[in-house]
């Protein structure tokens, strides 16, 4: 897995920002060294000595002062120029009428992703083919969130009632970590993002697998009773599973939950034990999460876990 540094970009959209940051950083460091050296030199050189005569009173020098007004101004003109260049490269204008490839919706506290051409519905883990520019329409279901995957480019706010467009692209295969970056309430910390960039062939395989509708009829044993529990209790008021009922996205779609890397917006690694722990009491794992503690019995948890683990 890659580190999450903005200075380790893996996207044509993130490179110009890292480049701009380095140039501005070098300029800033140079000014800092200049100022600090001047201050330290003055401190050492002009330290008061015993019996010192009173220093000459210098009321100012207009030429010098204009010089240190104009010099930073020129530097800023340069920084502004490279800023505008980086803006165009890292956030190119979308051509008119270009339909978005994907809709991403921020929820308290997870991400919903809809692939608009294939119809795949994903949560928190977003697969993209390497090297392809995806135009994403970003929305919010509740409060303001912010999409941020440092290695892949700019942040963008998800604002209720005001969709934003941004580009998503990865140059190299890998898993890129990101997170919600706008404070959005109690569990803002656990609204993590994973972007999984893979080859076109792998992406198509993944898409086909996501579109497969799991069969309930063939389930037996614990998994069979788990599917019964899922339908009998209120699970499906918030979660949908393809083949069971219509699209409800109050909570993440569970059709392929067993294939995900994490649970609860990144708070747990997705293992059967952790899934059982989550089902037993989500509030103990992610306090104030919108999924209540249903006080399931251990048998119910075992059966539900067995069922959900079949949803690869």
């Amino acid at each position: 897995m890659q580190g999450g540094s903005i200075l380790n970009p893996t996207s044509a959209l993130a490179h110009p920002i890292a480049h701009l940051f380095l140039i501005v950083g070098v300029i800033m460091a140079a000014i800092f060294v200049l100022v600090t050296m001047l201050v330290l030199y003055a401190c050492v050189r002009f330290r008061s000595k015993d019996n010192q005569i009173e220093p000459r009173q210098n009321h100012g020098n207009a030429v010098l002062e204009i010089a240190w007004t104009v010099a930073p101004l020129l530097l800023l003109v340069y920084i502004f120029t490279i800023t505008v260049q980086a803006m165009h490269r890292s956030d190119p204008d979308a051509s008119e009428n270009r339909p978005p490839d994907m809709a991403i919706v921020g929820h308290q506290w997870w991400w919903e992703a809809r692939y608009l051409t294939s119809g795949v519905l994903a949560a928190n883990e977003i697969h993209v083919p390497v090297g392809k520019l995806f135009l994403v329409r970003l929305e919010s279901a509740d409060v303001i969130h912010d999409w941020w995957v440092p290695q892949l480019g700019r942040k963008m706010d998800a604002i209720p009632g005001r969709p934003n467009l941004f580009w998503l692209e990865a140059d190299l295969p890998g898993t890129y970590l990101g997170t919600c970056a706008e404070y959005c309430g109690a569990e803002h910390a656990w609204m993590r993002i994973r972007v999984i960039a893979e080859s076109q062939a792998d992406f198509e395989r993944w898409t086909a697998q996501q579109l497969a509708i799991p069969s309930v009829a063939s389930l037996t044993g614990d998994a069979g009773s788990g599917s019964q529990i899922f339908q009998r209790l209120t699970c499906s008021n918030c979660h949908s599973i393809s083949g069971l009922q219509a699209n409800i996205t109050i909570g993440p779609d569970l059709t392929h939950i067993a294939g995900r890397q994490t649970l609860g917006g990144g708070v747990l690694v997705n293992t059967p034990e952790n899934l059982a722990k989550w089902l037993k009491n989500p509030q103990a794992v992610k306090p104030e999460s919108l999924m209540p503690d249903f006080e399931l019995t251990n048998d119910q948890v075992r059966d539900l876990t067995a069922y959900l683990e079949t949803l690869q």
């Binding site: 999450g4 000014i31 008061s48 240190w68 502004f80 934003n164 706008e182 404070y183």
Partner: protein, 554 residues
């Protein structure tokens, strides 16, 4: 009594004799004396500074290791909200208003402020507003939507406890207090200057306070209007900021930053003013380029109203708007840079005395420069698209408001404490305070730049165990506790010096402005006699009859 030799033939202003000192509690509660009110402002700020500091330490304990469960997410969010709100409204603003309250009348040779009873009103509104805000902890939970309370998270649907109502009403009360204080200071500076104290001769601290009060006067009503609308949304379903009902969540951000960006300059300009008093005195030289330092303050004030949306580069306003706000934000660096260079030029060729006040001023120069420079990286807004709302921003704002404002206020406290109390603060403890603070501050905040760069967002109650995140957060936490030690040294210095400090005398630093022409502490109506004011440095002129400033046209 003034200890400065006055020329009997010089034109002087005769003012009322001081009445005897009174010591009962009531004389403080019922006072309308600007000095007592100023000191009470400072004491109130110090108490809230300790509260906000404890909140910071609680956050740092929670963040010391990944996945910590010291605080629940709900508690953590209340505490970071109260930390920010406290430090801005109950520490930063009142400590500066307190210094201005105490010093402005003295520095312009006045008996008191123009509206002494309104002055008491603003102080007690501060106390009331502060206690009101903190009462929320007992009334079902403090606000937890951040000090900026973005809608719709701050709306009833997503913040159902009463914390946000306390936030809105508390800020409203504090806002009225600040506006009243601003009117008072403006009126005082315009009307109550002693004969000879022309606008162009104002000490730079007074000048910067003067400009700042116009920012308060224009910015705080925007905040008060906004919190009223928020309260109407929450209590009366007004739906100003509820998108689902036809309002606009984004509108809150525009309103809030219309206040919020000038607020940054409300918090730093008076600090610049203190630095502009301390550096010349301890360098033994007149301020270099008074006109540039004063004029650049006006430039900053005007620009500060034109840059609010640089807090919103990530909301997707579009390239043209981002570009316009980037230009304004970059321009602010120019007048700020002028000040830094003029302060260095003031030190250049001087005879620098490294008192604690001067150490803090030099610390300010370097720390604030770091904060100012990282600020420019946000104005280059593709960088902002990456680092806003991360720990890089947390580092930046603390270099500006702590490395800037708090270091400058510390310099000011060491400089003016003897005037306020008649006793010097201990230089030995002062130097310990400075060095411990400098080390703790940089340990806490410097590595937060790097944390932001490697992907850590701000306002998270915990974080995953990614490479280096735990180590760097632990360093930050250790630094925060070192800062805590520095604050304890400072508090001990204040207490012990109040009782046993060296007697200061009227003018312990050989300073040149009018507050040093009266006794320490000054009598009730400040001056028995005023020296002639024929330049910006009346006491310099008295001490240097052969080379007074007014001969140079200043």
């Amino acid at each position: 009594m003034s200890g400065v030799p006055l020329f009997p033939e010089a034109p002087t202003l005769r003012l009322a004799k001081a009445r005897g000192p009174a010591s009962s509690m009531l004389t403080w509660v019922a006072t309308v004396d600007h000095k007592k009110i100023g000191i009470m402002y400072l004491v109130v700020s110090l108490i809230f500074f300790l509260a906000g500091g404890v909140e910071a330490l609680l956050m740092r304990i929670q963040l010391a290791i990944p996945g910590n469960s010291f605080l629940s997410p709900g508690t953590y969010n209340q505490i970071f909200t109260m930390h920010g709100t406290t430090m801005v409204f109950l520490v930063g603003m009142p400590v500066l208003t307190g210094m201005a309250n105490y010093l402005v009348p003295l520095m312009i040779g006045a008996k008191d402020v123009a509206l002494p009873r309104m002055n008491a009103l603003s102080l007690w509104l501060l106390v009331f507003g502060g206690l009101f805000l903190y009462f929320s902890f007992l009334a079902g939970g403090a606000p937890s939507a951040g000090w900026f309370s973005y809608a719709p998270l701050s709306e009833k649907a997503y913040s159902s406890s009463q914390g946000l109502d306390y936030y809105a009403l508390g800020l409203f009360i504090l806002g009225i207090g600040s506006i009243v204080a601003a009117i008072n200071l403006i009126a005082t500076i315009i009307l109550f200057r002693a004969p000879g104290m022309s606008i162009r001769r104002l000490p730079l601290f007074v000048w910067m306070v003067f400009i700042t009060q116009f920012l308060v006067l224009l910015a705080l009503p925007a905040l008060n209007a906004s919190v009223c609308m928020l309260l109407m949304d929450r209590l009366l379903n007004a739906n100003f900021f509820v998108t689902a009902s036809g309002g606009s969540a984004l509108l809150w951000q525009h309103f809030f930053w219309t206040f919020g960006h000038p607020e940054v300059y409300i918090l730093v300009l008076p600090a610049f003013g203190m630095i502009s008093e301390v550096i010349p005195v301890f360098s033994g030289k007149v301020i270099y380029g008074y006109e540039f330092v004063a004029g650049s303050t006006v430039a900053i004030a005007v620009l500060s109203f034109l840059v609010w949306a640089h807090h919103m580069f990530a909301v997707g306003m579009g390239h043209p708007i981002d570009t316009i706000f980037a230009i304004g934000s970059m321009l602010i660096a120019v007048p700020t840079g002028i000040k830094i260079f003029n302060w260095i030029a003031t030190m250049w060729g001087g005879a620098i005395r490294f008192t604690t006040a001067m150490l803090f001023a030099v610390g300010f120069l370097v720390m604030f420069t770091i904060g100012g420079l990282s600020g420019v990286s946000f104005a280059a807004f593709p960088i902002d698209w990456q680092v806003t709302d991360t720990y890089y921003l947390v580092a930046h704002l603390h270099y500006v408001l702590f490395g800037g404002t708090i270091f400058a206020v510390s310099a000011g406290v060491y400089y003016w404490f003897p005037k306020m109390t008649g006793r010097l603060l201990s230089e030995r403890l002062g130097k310990q305070h400075f060095w411990i603070m400098l080390i703790g501050f940089n340990l806490t905040f410097f590595d937060q730049h790097l944390l932001g760069i490697i992907g850590m967002p701000r306002r998270v109650f915990t974080y995953p165990d990614l490479p280096a995140w735990g180590t760097m957060n632990m360093i930050s936490t250790i630094g925060a506790f070192i800062m805590g030690v520095a604050v304890l040294v400072f508090a001990w210095n204040i207490l012990s010096s109040l009782l046993h400090g060296e007697i200061a005398g009227d003018n312990p630093w050989n300073a040149w402005t009018l507050e040093w022409a009266t006794s320490s502490p000054p009598p009730e109506e400040n001056f028995d006699l005023l020296p002639p004011i024929r330049s910006r440095r009346p006491l310099w002129d008295l001490a240097h009859p052969d080379d007074p400033d007014w001969k140079h046209g200043h």
